[in-house]
Amino acid sequence: METVLTAPRVLDTSELADFDSVARAHRPAIFRFLLASLRDPDAAENLTQECLWKAYRARASFRGEASVKTWLMQIAVNLLRNHVMNARLRFWQRTARSGVDATIAGDWLADERGSPESMAANRQMVAAVWNAAEKLPERQRTVFLLRFVEEMEILEIAAATGMKEGTVKSHLFRALETVRSRVEGIR
């Protein structure tokens, strides 16, 4: 299957003139990515605010080399990395104590069509993906979430994470293998 790579849209710097609109448009995606990474709504909220604040302060120096979303995700990825490094032990303790239970995540199942049996099977699959993603190494999890939750292209993910395109593909391949083996294990 041919992989179509789309180059990121060159930013029109006037888009940042109305930062309120920018924040409103992209805040859900930033929060979602951080929440899926940290499994902690409070920490995700704090980092989201910090991300938007950093972006606001840096808006004048931005050169427009990437899309707004990619640029904001780059800031979010760096904040996430620093947060995890600075609080690694606390992070894992918090995840173990109050992290989202996969069964709770399954309650938010998007597609509720189908029989109770198929819905239960879907919930199991979601839980399997959720648990597999949690156990991924940090970089693989970041790439996995940006690709399959935020639906970003490989080049955008590379720009956001500072990785090379080949490295992104490698992480994505390994992450997908791990998740697949977990999902197929329950079938």
Partner: protein
């Protein structure tokens, strides 16, 4: 893997939409609005100062009027008509203002 990943994506999106708090507004401060703020503050200060000075002078005028009224009432109290029997003395007192009076208070 398409179906599990799509279900996972939908779940994460729904969950995060429920967890997200309302956004705080990022207010954009511009150079122009900064000068506006300074001008407004200066104008407000001048207005307050103007009111204060005006109030002060009004208070001074009111006090002066009150003093004048008090003096007039005092004068009215103490300036009684001289009894007829003392009229020559009153005349003497009023004329002594303009006559020669030596250092011992005796008329020359």
């Amino acid at each position: 893997m398409e179906a599990p990943l799509a279900a996972f994506r939908g779940t994460v999106r729904d969950w995060s939409a429920q967890q997200m708090r309302p956004a705080a507004r990022v207010r954009q401060a511009t150079f122009f609005s900064g000068w506006l703020r300074v001008a407004f503050a200066a104008g407000a200060l001048a207005l307050v100062a103007g009111f204060g000075i005006d109030w002060h002078f009004r208070q001074v005028e009111a006090a002066a009027r009150a003093d004048q009224a008090l003096l007039e009432s005092v004068d009215a109290e103490i300036a009684r008509p001289v009894p007829a029997s003392l009229a020559p003395l009153a005349n003497l007192m009023s004329s002594s203002d303009s006559t020669n009076i030596n250092s011992e208070g005796l008329a020359r």
